[in-house]
């Protein structure tokens, strides 16, 4: 059995790490699936989904690292008027930082619960906010 859930999240900062573990756990419980996997997938190209330890200090370090690897200023080609949009693309850094994080995470489900490691937290990483983001959570199993 596979169930697909959708979650909308409004962010409030240009770069922001949003903890998703509790949201995913609640959805897995709601699904009644006891054994299987849960996929957490962002539907955007300027966000990331990643897993790390849920600590404020690490969140700051991760954001700093993303900014260091993809600096705010650079000779980005994705910085020009896009006729099909009617606006200028000015978010190359958001796309490139998202590239480093990927768009999904996967966790096992055991006895109806998400099997987290002791330090693991799931993050939605906003890279071009504030915006309203849609996350798909796919629960598969028995």
């Amino acid at each position: 059995m596979t169930k697909i859930y959708s979650k909308a999240i409004k962010t409030s900062q240009s770069i922001q790490m949003i903890r998703m573990g509790n949201i995913v756990s609640d959805i897995v419980q709601e699904s009644s699936i006891q054994t299987g996997v849960v996929n957490i997938i962002t539907l955007h190209t300027t966000t990331g989904i990643t897993v790390n330890e849920g600590l404020d200090c690490l969140e700051l370090d991760i954001v700093d690292l993303l900014k260091k690897l993809v600096p705010d200023e650079g000779p980005y080609v994705h910085a020009h008027f896009l006729p099909s949009y009617g606006r200028t693309s000015a978010n190359a850094t958001s796309h490139l930082r998202g590239l480093l994080l990927g768009n999904n995470a996967i966790f096992p489900i055991q006895n109806g619960k998400v099997l987290f490691g002791g330090a693991q937290e799931i993050y939605l990483v906003e890279l071009d906010g504030p915006q309203e983001r849609k996350i798909s959570i796919v629960v598969s199993g028995d």
């Binding site: 200023e73 980005y76 910085a79 020009h80 949009y85 009617g86 606006r87 190359a92 504030p130």
Partner: protein, 285 residues
């Protein structure tokens, strides 16, 4: 109090009544791929950019496109939804027979805070004495500022022949107590815009310009190649207004571009706060 003097409300969910209305706005404003967003999200974006108040601009395109991008009635409604954040202007179609009565309604009945004109999209010459001077007389009488979109416009039905800032010189001279802004820095006529703002005390310029490259790169080009930062610091620090042109670009990115343009801190303070307050008659607030 930091004020963005140039934003458009056309894609706020609360103000989008039907798909047909949204399509009209997309087609005539020329912004095709944009998700509708609610006022709560817009406020988050305003806060993230460190902005306190936003001037929202409608446009009456009755003669050239058969409708308004947003009516004055709706602008009044919108301002009432967030009076602490939104400063709503109105718009009239200068080519309409009801232009003057529409203007009086806009000012006296709706209490809107200014008038927005886009000569290039509304297809009029702003120095047309027969059509426009009665409008300017009323605006001057009630001390209502005007925003003129000059220079390059992305709106598909716009024509540059109506958009040279020098078309505003007679207006500046003949209505010395009428405050108006030249939007988009009048780009590419940046020097012309600076000349008018330097010569006439009632002329302001807003920074809502982005035509090539990223906001930071474009501001750097304009303020270091077309003109010099010192022109603004030394001669025009009291005449430049911060404007973003949201939603064609994010307010945060335009704010950052301004901060990186190389102006003195005192100049930035004037552009972001003191000049908009004076232009919008908000000194008492």
């Amino acid at each position: 109090m930091i004020i963005d003097v140039h934003a458009h409300p056309y894609f706020l969910k609360e103000m989008c009544g039907s798909e047909e209305q949204v399509k009209f706005r997309r087609d005539n404003f020329g912004l095709y791929k944009i998700a509708l967003q609610d006022i709560d999200l817009f406020k988050r974006q305003i806060a993230a950019a460190g902005i306190d108040k936003v001037v929202l601009l409608p446009l009456d395109l009755s003669s050239t496109a058969g409708g308004t991008l947003m009516s004055n009635h709706d602008m009044k409604y919108l301002e009432d939804l967030a009076p602490d954040t939104f400063i709503c202007f109105g718009s009239i179609d200068p080519n309409s027979k009801t232009a003057l009565s529409d203007l009086r309604t806009l000012i006296k009945d709706f209490g809107l805070k200014g008038i927005n004109f886009n000569p290039s999209s509304q297809h009029f010459f702003p120095n047309d004495k027969a059509i426009l001077y009665p409008v300017y007389e009323i605006a001057q009488k009630y001390n209502v500022p005007i925003c003129f979109h000059m220079g390059m416009s992305w709106e598909p039905n716009s024509l540059l022949q109506y958009a040279n800032p020098l078309l505003l010189e007679n207006v500046a001279k003949d209505f010395p107590d009428l405050k108006f802004s030249i939007s988009h820095f009048g780009w590419p006529w940046v020097v012309e815009s600076c000349i008018l703002a330097m010569k006439y005390t009632n002329v302001y310029i807003d920074t809502s310009m982005l035509y090539f490259d990223s906001p930071r790169e474009f501001f750097k080009y304009v303020f270091s190649s077309q003109i010099q930062p010192s022109w603004i610091d030394r001669s025009l620090s009291n005449k430049v207004l911060f404007g973003s042109n949201y939603p064609r670009i994010e307010q945060l990115r335009m704010r950052e571009a301004l901060e990186y343009a190389g102006f003195r801190e005192e100049t930035l303070h004037k552009i972001l706060e003191l000049n908009p307050i004076r232009f919008l008659n908000l000194q008492g607030e």
